[in-house]
Symmetry: C2
Subunit: 218 residues, 2 copies
């Protein structure tokens, strides 16, 4: 596809719309969003938390996350398979209805697993592993995934940006390792706050860190 | 930027050129190229090879690489810093005029280094590390880099594709983690063969492995 030609045409189109080549059309809301890089982490059911940390023990906040009511817990666990072990895996609280381990593809190689790319809670057919805590261990037969890239968006923010729940969009990143990510799932709801979530492989590939920004393309 | 609008315009333009929305213009050479994923590896000078493996010992081929005369050697080394150690680092032969260690950003965190993104041979100001071999060790004060994404292209292939040496282009990848990589350096010469080189972080982020394909965009 002749990008130079497209570029010239786009400039003309945007100019006629009262915008410029950067894609900013006057009067349009900014499509620049904050990037949150998710390192490997796990979510636990209350039942699994009881086994790993002791009956009645709940996860305790280390620091709040940008997403409402979510926090990185002081507690960590070790995840293990026959092929590998990863200690000090951070837990995200509060407890959930499902236990889920989100790792990078790099971690997956170390553990000898081939997890599917999934959104939170969609765990059917995913591989399991051993979860080891100070009070006990749990063997899960599924729940290990590579987190699918997604955009958290509050209902009010979605209205302003013209985004709808489950919409698939793209995001552009600048810099030396800049580029475009496709197949980005939009998750709209009152429990969300505008933030683009990617994993550490994606962050390293694009040279990104938490707090950097991306431009939504849709 | 209104991608839907651009898409419609592009389809019209390509249609008028006798092409289709996939960007294929009839009569144009294919811009689909093979992807080569570079895992962490090192290149050695003959002098450093002598120290690490013994005087006069040259690297021995384990398997040939797609790039002419280049091979993965049977020999491996350990690379180390005060913060971390990575054993079994593959060497690429034959020996070169410079010693260079190419790691992923993931590896860099493990080693406590912050290497610049560089093309081969451009090592000024890059950090060093300790290289450990069976016959001895070498401390290098520079030479550790994150490999900048690049396209190897033979002079004859460049002529057909209309590419020039040092040109900066883009590459598009399909699939669940599809997207576009920008700032892709084209390296044209008779010692090159058409192949897109990315590192393991980039491969994991885009869900790619060696032998997959990418579409060049320029």
């Amino acid at each position: 596809m002749d990008e130079a030609l497209i570029g010239r045409i786009v400039e003309e189109v945007l100019h006629s719309l009262g915008g410029d080549a950067a894609g900013t059309v006057h009067g349009m809301p900014s499509r620049t969003v904050r990037v949150g890089v998710s390192n490997r982490h796990a979510h636990l059911t209350p039942e699994h938390s009881d086994i790993l940390f002791g009956p009645g023990r709940r996860l305790t906040p280390l620091r709040p996350l940008l997403q409402p009511d979510q926090f990185a817990s002081k507690e960590t666990i070790t995840i293990a398979t026959a092929q590998g072990v990863i200690p000090n895996v951070r837990l995200i609280g509060p407890e959930r209805k499902y236990t889920q381990v989100e790792i990078s593809r790099t971690d997956a190689f170390l553990l000898g697993l081939d997890p599917p790319i999934r959104q939170s809670g969609n765990l059917e057919g995913s591989p399991g592993c051993v979860l080891i805590g100070p009070a006990g261990s749990v063997i899960i037969d599924h729940g290990v995934i590579l987190a699918g890239r997604h955009l958290h968006c509050h209902t009010s923010e979605a209205a302003v940006l013209g985004l709808r729940d489950r919409q698939i969009i793209r995001a552009r990143f600048g810099g030396e390792r800049g580029g475009v990510m496709e197949n980005l799932l939009v998750r709209v709801g009152d429990i969300h706050k505008l933030e683009l979530h990617i994993d550490t492989d994606e962050a390293n590939a694009f040279g990104l860190k938490t707090g950097d920004t991306a431009e939504l393309v849709y």
